[in-house]
Amino acid sequence: MKMRGVKQLFSNCKEATLLTVKSEEVKLSFPERVQLGIHLLYCSTCRRFKKESEKLNVYFLQLHEHLLKEPPYRMSEQLKATLQSRLKK
């Protein structure tokens, strides 16, 4: 039982990445901070995940602005025409 607990703490990248994502938005509880901190100490893959996750947030947060500047999808001409005439009435 005890061994399992230790294993949970030390080699659970699923849990560690979830805590990483959570920590970007809220303050983690003390036990969560300890768990994540210990994991990151020895897991270089999760350390990289943390860095990359932060970069992704920057790109994701620009999605909306980009959508306005360069809308990736275009309404069909037909829809535009229909709408144009509906709105004139």
């Binding site: 699923k14 849990e15 990445t17 979830l18 893959t45 360069e70 309404m75 709105l87």
Partner: protein
């Protein structure tokens, strides 16, 4: 000056794109955008004008998208969905035995030279990756990142428990990261 006849030209494709990303369906998005403009023009007297016309239109569309989610049960039973797919989803990324990342995931450095967000093609890839995400995840993901909604609001609006919210964001992040690595960062 209020110039509603220009709105279609100015915001049409933008609103349509917003609807496309959030519903993933052409016909649905066309209907939602039509309804948005018709409602907006019908309620034009209640709109006071100014620079907030874009925000106003987006909020009308957003209400219609929320109705659509509700009617189609897009966000219903998220709890069951997350539980039933837990093992299959996470075993793609993490070894069930060791708890560590599977080989091939997150194992390579990104090859980033310029800031990708300045490149148009990067967003094309990003949009494709969002399209591939299951609807149960993408609605929450977009609400957080595209609408910059808070977790409390999203949980309330979409009837989610905080722990399910974190799982959804976690899964969405893993999927997006993987998709972007395959198609942009490490290809």
């Amino acid at each position: 000056m209020l110039n509603p006849e220009k709105w279609l030209e100015k915001y049409g494709d933008y609103l349509y794109s917003l609807a496309m990303l959030k519903t993933g369906k052409k016909e649905v998005s066309e209907d939602l955008v039509q309804d948005t403009f018709v409602s907006a023009f019908g309620a034009i007297d209640s709109f006071r004008g100014g620079s907030a016309e874009k925000t106003w239109l987006v909020s009308i569309l957003q209400n219609k998208i929320t109705d659509y989610y509700r009617k189609k049960d897009v966000l219903k039973d998220s709890d069951d969905y997350l539980q039933q797919t837990d093992t299959t989803f996470y075993s793609n990324f993490f070894d069930t035995e060791s708890g560590h990342w599977n080989t091939g995931y997150a194992s390579n450095e990104w090859l980033v030279t310029d800031n990708p967000s300045e490149q148009k093609e990067f967003y094309t890839v990003l949009h494709k990756c969002i399209e591939k995400m299951p609807a149960k995840l993408s609605g929450v993901f977009l609400s957080k990142f595209m609408d910059e909604n808070t977790s409390e609001n999203i949980c309330k609006e979409m009837n989610l428990s905080p722990s399910n919210y974190w799982v959804i964001i976690h899964r969405a992040k893993l999927l997006m990261k993987n998709c972007l690595e395959l198609n942009w960062f490490i290809k």
